[in-house]
Every structure is written in C-alpha cells, then in structure tokens.
C-alpha cells in the first residue's frame, strides 16, 4: 500500500511538471540554466540507473551476469540495434551466462 502512495505522488508530480511547462510564461524559456540542468539530470540519472541495475545488490557492488548483459547491450547499441532488440539481447546475455554457471 505504501508503494501505491509513492506511485501516485510520482504520477501527480509527473503531470504537474508537464503542465507547468504550458503554464509558465515564455520568459522562463529564455533561461538556459533551466534547460541545462534538466539535460544533465537526465543523463546523470540514466547513467546511475544503468549502473545500479547492473552492479548493485542491496548495498554491495557485485559482478554477476548483469555485467555481461551490460556489455552485450552496449555491443548491440554500437551496432545500432533498435531498442527492443537491445533489451532482448541484454536478457538473453544474463540468462545465458546463468546457464553457464555465472551467478
């Protein structure tokens, strides 16, 4: 139930952020800092989420099959594979490495 609560807060904030863009005066748009922070935040968060999902296990940093998935996904992206293919390649790599005995 607690998760539902935070999920709904996230929903409200997401919509409020979008709507705010339509409601604030155009003058704010002239502020490059706003756009820059939004940009670096996006990059930083996605990089952090990638690493956490690849190498964190609770409060430990571990090297398991997910690291293999990360490498496989990077190769797929390098080869300009579409998003869905990249996701499937990551899944196959992790599942395959586990079959081979990697945790």
């Amino acid at each position: 139930m607690n998760l539902w609560l935070w999920l709904l807060v996230a929903v409200v904030l997401a919509y409020a952020t979008k709507l705010l863009g339509y409601l604030v005066p155009a003058k704010v748009l002239a502020n490059p800092r706003m756009s820059r922070v939004a940009g670096t935040l996006t990059i930083g968060l996605l990089a952090s989420l990638t690493v956490v999902n690849a190498a964190a296990s609770g409060t430990a940093v571990v090297l398991d099959a997910r690291a293999g998935a990360l490498v496989a996904a990077a190769v797929a992206l390098w080869l300009k594979a579409p998003f869905l293919v990249v996701v499937i390649v990551g899944g196959l790599a992790a599942a395959g490495l586990r079959l081979l005995g990697w945790p």
Partner: protein
C-alpha cells in the same frame, strides 16, 4: 490537408508504432521488479513518460524505497517541463487541449513536433505521435505485464539483465558528444562509490544531485533550447526524421528536420 497526406502525421504514426511496441518491455520488467499488474498500468496510463516509469521500477527492483523511486522518477521528468515550454511556444494550445497536450508531452511527441517548421504540421505531428504512443504504449504495457507474470522467476529469464539493457538503451542516444559522455561517466562512478554507504535507491539521488550541480555550474558551450541540439542531454531519445529518411521518400516538408544525430535512437 487531410491527416493521411500530412508528412508529420506519417512520421508521428511510425514513431508511435516503434515506441508503443517497447511498452512490452516496460510491462514485463515492471512486474519482474515487484509491482503488480495495476501498479504497472497506473504508471503507463497516468504517469506516461518512459524514462520516469523505468526509473521508478528500476529503484524498486534494486530494493529502494517508494520515496526514492518517486524522487528518481520526478527528477527524470523535469525535462518534460522544458518540452512543455517549447511546445507551448510552438502550438499555443488553449482550454482543455492544454491539459491533454501536457499528458502526452514526452520525448517522442516533442521531437516529432519540433522537427517541423509549419505550425499546422507541428500540431499534427505532436498529436498523432502523442496520442498514438499513449494508446499503443498502454496496450503493450498490459501485454508485457501478462507476459512477465507468466514467465515466473525473472532472473532465470534474464529480466534483470534486460532492465540493465533498457537503461543503457535510454542513455545511449544522449551521450553522442564528449561532455554528456563525461557527465554520464562521473555519475556512474559516483553511484558505485555511494552504493556501499547509503540505503538502496539513494545512490541514484546522489548521482542526480551531482548531475544537477554540473548542469548548474557548467559554463559555455550552451546549446539552444530546442531539443535536438547535441551535447545538452535534452535531445529527445529518438530521431524521428532520421527514421523517416531511412525509410526513403517523404523528403518534402522534412527539410526542417534536425541534423541527424547519429546512433539509433531508443525506438
């Protein structure tokens, strides 16, 4: 002009199909992360912003709290506010349309609209992409959630590896230039350093703080504010007009398209 003759509407429709399809990966990964079917659907129906949705389930999957998941999701959604300002300046929606436009203001609809120069075409592209993705994203989220439930043990199927790939896939198109790549590397290192010392989910927020500070204090080389300027991280994670060029034809009216940015987008 009828909708079927509009180049922007055609682009919007092809983007909607490509993007909507990968809702299936969100649905499957969401239930694998521990959310139930309706929580998964609530994210797609109500929150409706791929990056923020993946961020929410990514934190939950790593054992983070609901608060941390909400925070990561909200911070990643800030760019939608910037898109909203840009789209408001382009389209000037009024009345109820403004509220509907806000809900479908995401990377893909913004990129489709801002790649056009004619205001009517901008509007057509925005609505076709936005509403089309909304519909398909939700249908495929539901399909993915059913699939994820049916698969059983997520680890055995490598779904945790698929989540890693999904995040890298969302990040990849934004790090074509040196600066964004450096920011990504710094935040990745900060995250790894923070993991042993704070509760799960919090390292992501530490990285967000660092990223925000970099953006705040970074000087010079500031690109314009329209999405599509390389190096800002504010390029929408897709490249609709390159997509169209690949399909051949449809060159008329697309000259206003952004310079093709390189690596395949997240679609």
């Amino acid at each position: 002009m009828r909708l079927r003759d509009s180049p922007a509407a055609k682009i919007g429709a092809s983007i909607a199909i490509a993007t909507g399809l990968y809702g299936i990966s969100f649905g499957a990964l969401s239930v694998a992360s521990g959310l139930d079917f309706w929580q998964t659907m609530a994210l797609s129906l109500l929150l409706f912003s791929g990056g923020s949705q993946f961020a929410f389930i990514g934190v939950v999957a790593g054992g983070g709290t609901g608060l941390a998941a909400m925070s990561a999701s909200a911070l990643l959604g800030i760019r939608n506010g910037v898109y909203g300002m840009q789209l408001n300046a382009l389209m000037r929606p009024t009345g109820w349309r403004r509220f509907a436009a806000a809900q479908v203001t995401i990377d893909e609809s913004t990129a489709t609209a801002t790649g056009q120069s004619d205001p009517a075409e901008q509007r057509r592209g925005f609505w076709v992409a936005g509403l089309g993705i909304y519909l398909l994203w939700n249908v495929f989220t539901a399909a993915g959630a059913f699939l994820g439930d049916a698969l059983g043990d997520p680890k055995q199927w490598g779904l945790d590896g698929a989540a890693v790939a999904a995040f890298l896939g969302l990040l990849w198109p934004r790090i074509r230039a040196f600066q964004p790549a450096a920011i990504a590397a710094v935040c990745a290192v900060v995250t790894l350093l923070a993991v042993p010392f704070v509760a799960p989910g919090v390292p992501i927020l530490v990285a967000a703080l660092v990223a925000g500070l970099i953006g705040w204090f970074r000087r010079g080389g500031t690109p314009g504010h329209a999405p599509g300027h390389v190096g800002d991280g504010m390029e929408p994670d897709i490249e609709p007009y390159r997509h169209a060029a690949n399909r051949g034809g449809e060159s008329d009216g697309l000259a206003a398209g952004k310079p093709a940015g390189g690596a395949g987008g997240a679609q």
